[in-house]
């Protein structure tokens, strides 16, 4: 690539970053996030007390329903079944702990090196070792998440995020904000892309 193309790319990247920073700055100003989708204005917001109670009610109801399901196992039972088939989740947990303590140790050494203002090459070598440990932790953690994704607990978590979207998504109608969904069925029958976008914003605003 010639020099002018590199420079042009740098300018584009810079402009994109500035635009994204402005968007995030706008999002941070309030505990509500507004967005447009297919020429309509939407927003997600934090739940009020009544809505939090509704969320709890839906969560308990869904957990009761999941308990009746014989084909979906609780996490502890799923772990037992994996162990019988030769996959030991506790071994994954132990490996994660081992790498985490190695990671903390390396970070402490890096921190001390920064305080002592040592040369860059030493800092870089710590950085590389930390990146390796982090990668190992990420691989193991993803492995565990994949193995346990079909547990009752995970199903419940997915459902709760859908409930959050159902309760917090509003659309602008004649300059007034109104709830987009009247019930959970409305959400399941709605445009999936809108639900996903709203779900991402909801997760940024509140933890379950």
């Amino acid at each position: 690539m010639d020099e002018s193309k590199v420079e042009a790319q740098r300018i584009i990247d810079d402009m994109t970053k500035k635009r994204d920073l402005r968007k995030v700055e706008e999002m941070l100003k309030d505990n509500k996030i507004e967005f447009s989708y297919k020429d309509k204005e939407y927003r997600v917001r934090l739940l009020n007390l009544r809505e939090k109670e509704e969320l709890d009610f839906l969560r308990v109801k869904e957990f009761g329903r999941l308990l009746q399901e014989k084909d979906i196992l609780l996490e502890c039972n799923l772990i037992k079944q994996y162990k019988e088939n030769g996959i030991d989740i506790s071994e994954i947990d132990e490996s994660i702990s081992k790498f985490q303590s190695e990671l903390k140790d390396l970070c402490m050494k890096l921190g001390e090196a920064i305080a002592k203002k040592v040369e860059d090459s030493i800092l870089k070598s710590y950085e590389e070792r930390i990146n390796i440990a982090e990668r190992e932790i990420n691989v193991l953690a993803s492995q565990k998440v994949i193995l346990l994704q079909y547990s009752k607990e995970n199903r419940l978590l997915g459902f709760v995020y859908k409930c959050l979207t159902y309760l917090s998504l509003e659309e602008k109608v004649n300059d007034e904000w109104k709830r987009t969904f009247n019930n959970m069925d409305d959400l399941f029958n709605c445009d999936e892309e809108l639900v996903n976008q709203a779900g991402q914003y909801t997760a940024i605003l509140q933890n379950v």
Binding site: K17, L21, K29, M108, A115, E127
Partner: protein
């Protein structure tokens, strides 16, 4: 989609945001957010990042560290982790050498109120 947490962190490093943060702490009617309570998760994260970089800027100002930490998130986190642990160790060793004698006694003389 851009990573909102990475960009929030980037924002918190900006001089403009750091200045606003310092002024908002000192001047009553200047606010960082439109809402004064019910902070969202991302607003809480932004606040924690503002504190983190304020702390690092102070360390740079008194020359404990160089501004290298501002260019690398890992360096920033590691330095603060080390500093916090060092502080905890110092606190522990301070207490281990201190002998407190808190023995109940009737010999404490309180100042008498005037006119009594």
């Amino acid at each position: 989609m851009y990573n909102i947490y990475t960009l929030t962190r980037e924002l918190s490093k900006l001089t403009k945001m750091q200045n606003l943060f310092i002024v908002a702490k000192k001047v009553n009617n200047i606010h960082l957010f439109r809402n004064s309570n019910d902070l969202s998760d991302i607003q809480l994260y932004f606040l924690s990042m503002l504190f983190l970089y304020e702390n690092l800027n102070q360390e740079i100002e008194i020359e404990h560290i160089t501004d290298k930490v501002l260019t690398n998130d890992l360096y920033a986190e590691s330095y603060l982790l080390w500093k916090r642990n060092k502080k905890e160790d110092n606190t522990k060793s301070d207490f281990s050498h201190r002998h407190l004698h808190l023995v109940p006694t009737n010999k404490i003389n309180f100042n008498k109120k005037e006119g009594n």
